[in-house]
């Protein structure tokens, strides 16, 4: 029972990092559906770098760096060039899926390094994730930077008239978002499941993306959602730990995705939109051109 809970907390930690990055993105008005791709890249290059240099530090740095670069790439497409953000994001995902499979294949197999230490049975990064959620909430709601970011995500033209540099802030958001996603990927491949194989990430990026919508762009709700999905994920992997003998494990493995679909259906209902739709950043997904 306890290991089950600890493992699900660690899964939640990864959802939280990736989701917080996407949340910052989206509060600034940029939708990045390529989150999965950035995580794949962060994970694969982080894995390769750590294994070749035998240094976790290098692995994580590489993960964060490549995440930031991909975020920047998405920024160039969606902010400077005004490309449809969904198209750019899907492009990043498809590109990443292909590239990481190509780069990672020769490294198929376990990482083969000593496990990272834990604090109270889980990764110390779990506590960092909690602090980060609090920190991002604080910055978004209590500081002038946060006010500016939220304004840019709601009504960029108003922000511009008020003296805010819209493009600069949006770049900041996509780069920070990319770095967090890259880090989340690296954490997955270097700690949570330190084995490289084909399609190792299994849609965690898409789940994180769904969590951001589900969270109404609130870091605390995002964390709550991450905990829930961490639990569901763990249930799908080792249902026998909690409910031995109930259903086939194939059904359990489907659960997180089925719940994702249900969540998306739920948040698309009129009822939900009327109640919570108002929290959506109004300019989300819309390119902004200075007049």
């Amino acid at each position: 029972m306890l290991p089950f809970i600890l493992r699900s907390l660690e899964a939640a930690m990864i959802f939280t990092f990736a989701g917080l990055g996407e949340l910052v993105n989206q509060r600034g008005g940029i939708l990045n559906v390529g989150l999965e791709g950035i995580m794949l890249f962060g994970a694969t290059l982080g894995f390769v770098a750590a294994q070749t240099t035998e240094s976790y530090l290098v692995g994580f740095l590489v993960g964060v760096l490549v995440g930031g670069l991909l975020g920047l790439l998405h920024g160039v497409f969606s902010i400077s060039l005004g490309v449809d953000q969904v198209v750019s994001g899907m492009g990043i995902w498809i590109f990443s899926f292909g590239m990481t499979t190509y780069i990672g294949s020769p490294f198929t197999g376990p990482l083969g390094m000593e496990r990272l230490p834990t604090v109270l049975g889980i990764s110390p990064f779990f506590y960092v994730a909690v602090l980060l959620a609090v920190g991002i909430w604080f910055v978004l709601t209590k500081t002038s930077l946060g006010l500016a970011i939220r304004s840019v995500g709601e009504t960029p033209d108003v922000a511009e008239v008020s003296g805010i540099h819209v493009a600069r802030l949006r770049y900041l958001c996509v780069v920070v978002g990319g770095m967090l996603a890259g880090f989340a990927g690296a954490l997955y491949a270097l700690y949570y499941n330190p084995v490289w194989n084909y399609n190792f990430l299994m849609g965690w990026g898409f789940i994180s993306l769904a969590l951001v919508f589900f969270s109404m762009w609130n870091p605390f709700l995002l964390f709550g959602g991450a905990l829930l999905f961490g639990l569901l994920w763990q249930l799908s992997l080792n249902p026998e730990l909690l409910l031995p003998g109930l259903f086939s494990r194939y059904i359990w493995r489907m659960v997180p995705f089925a719940v994702t679909v249900l969540v998306l259906v739920f948040i698309s209902t009129d009822w939900f939109r009327a109640r919570w739709g108002a929290t959506r950043p109004q300019a989300l997904g819309q390119p902004y051109h200075r007049e």
Partner: protein, 530 residues
């Protein structure tokens, strides 16, 4: 000051210290701006505003008002001419420069973040809002500022919850809190109810007592200009037509200066020739796009040769009423009769075929297709007509002929019938839309905000056309937010508030105050409203 270097040396407090009453705060000399394509939008414009002065800028659409306003606010740079603040030459390369130097702008289309609170909006972009926001402190300062000028607004409320008048107050406070000494107001009364307008005018008077210069830019509300301004500069075709003390001006004179020819103020309305009921609306209720009750048990009858003037502030159900009648919105309860036959659930095309004509308020989104030519746009009301459609093939020649007729009869300034609709100005587009609808000789005409945003000449023309339709025996449902216009054209006035028709008042018994109170919800019949 003329250096194009950074502006760190500018100290607004020192710069604006010790303003003397009547001192010239801002002066613009010889402002000239030519756009690519040769349009001379501003031609050697001189303009100045003094402390404690309201100096209105008046002009029709296309007279160069917007260009001048954008130059004063740093959005565009003049080709020639200079701006001086207290005698010092300044260069505004962006609105941020203008704001820093003490120019404030109150936009016609509010520049506020709807999802944020009032105080957050006021702080957005403020140089003192660095790092952690001190909301409480800012709230106290803004509250004190509001107190000084007699504004009342809940600083914690979200902007989307506010009325148009309250939003405007937020914009004014935002500008003043940023240290504006010259306040530019773009069409300040355009979206306000009569009550809100009155409050605004009082506030402007109060502001002008405080060593500020206030510069309202106005298109056609001449009474407002006369009421609040001390001086008025009239622009026509990019030039200053006149700059005069308001006490020397009257409506007639200002209108002539604007248009360049004498203007009839009272469109001549012949006595009504009322006939049979054309449309009967009986207890109709309908919902808005958001799902709330937008029309609540509305009943009225409009006869042939009669204009029903639907008055109200935007968002009180007029829009839904127009759509329900045109067949674009479902009816929840009640029924609609046209010439005695029920059309409650009749599809749009059937209504057109039975003589309904509809000119939507959204000319570019609903009323026309910008990428289509004028002929194609006219065809939108004729494609099903057997005279113009033979076995599914449109008769191009006939449609072009019809379009040419419309362009001529409605005096549309367009190079020809084959230009795209998006190249037309708002006034000309509206004439095309009215033309294609009226050329069908509708029995029921639904005109939603037909003159909104048009200049004096086009407004007069549109109003004249509505009266002509009435004289020809059409029943006209005329929706407007302008009470003067409503009173001038209507035979019966229907003030709407929160989806209800408050009362049906024959025009000869209608007065502006009562109707103003009705559409603001403060009439005594409306008990229980805040």
């Amino acid at each position: 000051m003329t250096r194009r270097s950074k502006h760190t040396s500018f100290d607004p407090d020192a710069f604006w210290a010790d303003i003397q009453p009547g001192e010239v705060l801002l002066s613009a000399r010889g402002i000239t701006k030519q756009y690519p394509g040769g349009v001379l939008a501003n031609d050697r414009i001189d303009f100045e505003v003094r402390a404690q002065e309201v100096h209105a800028v008046l002009g029709e659409n296309g007279a160069g008002k917007t260009t001048l306003m954008n130059i004063l606010f740093g959005l565009i740079q003049p080709d020639q001419g200079a701006i001086y603040l207290r005698g010092q030459r300044v260069h505004f390369r962006s609105p941020q420069d203008a704001i820093r130097y003490g120019i404030g702008m109150v936009h016609q289309h509010r520049k506020l973040v709807p999802a944020h609170s009032v105080i957050e909006n006021i702080l957005l972009g403020h140089p003192r809002a660095q790092g952690i926001l001190r909301l409480r402190e800012a709230e106290e300062e803004v509250a004190a500022l509001a107190e000084t000028y007699g504004f009342r607004v809940d600083l914690r409320a979200k902007v989307w919850q506010l009325t148009e008048g309250e939003k405007q107050v937020v914009e004014i406070l935002k500008a003043l809190y940023r240290g504006a000494h010259i306040l530019i107001m773009d069409e300040p009364t355009s979206a306000l109810t009569p009550v809100e307008t009155e409050k605004l005018l009082e506030s402007i008077e109060r502001m002008s007592e405080h060593k500020l210069g206030v510069v309202p830019f106005i298109t056609h509300k001449l009474p407002v200009v006369l009421r609040i301004s001390h001086r008025v500069t009239v622009l026509r075709s990019g030039r200053v037509a006149a700059s005069l003390d308001t006490q020397d001006a009257d409506e007639q004179r200002l209108a002539e200066l604007m248009v360049g020819r004498p203007v009839l103020f009272d469109v001549q309305k012949p006595p009504a020739q009322e006939g049979e009921p054309v449309v009967q609306v009986e207890g109709v209720s309908a919902r808005s796009d958001k799902g709330n009750l937008a029309l609540d048990n509305v009943s009225f009858t409009v006869r042939s040769g009669q204009i029903l003037g639907v008055a109200g502030v935007a968002g009180n159900g007029q829009h839904e009423l127009a759509e329900v009648l045109a067949g674009l919105r479902g009816v929840e309860q009640g029924r609609i009769l046209l010439n005695g036959q029920e059309i409650t659930r009749a599809p749009v095309l059937a209504r057109w075929q039975q003589g309904v004509g509809y000119t939507p308020a959204e000319r570019t989104e609903v009323g026309s297709i910008g990428e289509f030519t004028l002929v194609e746009n006219v065809a939108m009301n004729y494609f099903w007509d057997p005279d113009y459609n033979r076995h599914g093939v449109l008769d191009e020649a006939k449609l072009r002929e019809l379009t040419e007729q419309i362009l001529e009869e409605f005096r549309v300034a367009a190079p020809g019938p084959h230009v795209k609709a998006k190249t037309l100005s708002g006034g000309n587009l509206q004439k095309v839309i009215m033309g294609r609808v009226l050329s069908r000789r509708p029995r029921l005409l639904i005109a939603n905000l037909p003159a909104q945003g048009l200049d004096i000449g086009a407004t007069e023309f549109v109003q004249q056309k509505l009266l002509e339709a009435r004289a020809e025996g059409a029943a006209v449902i005329f929706i407007s937010e302008d009470l003067d216009e409503i009173l001038m054209l209507s035979d019966v006035v229907a003030p709407m508030y929160e989806g209800r028709v408050v009362d049906l008042i024959p025009a000869d018994q209608a007065d502006k105050e009562t109707i103003g109170a009705m559409i603001a919800g403060s009439y005594q019949q409306q008990e229980g409203t805040p």
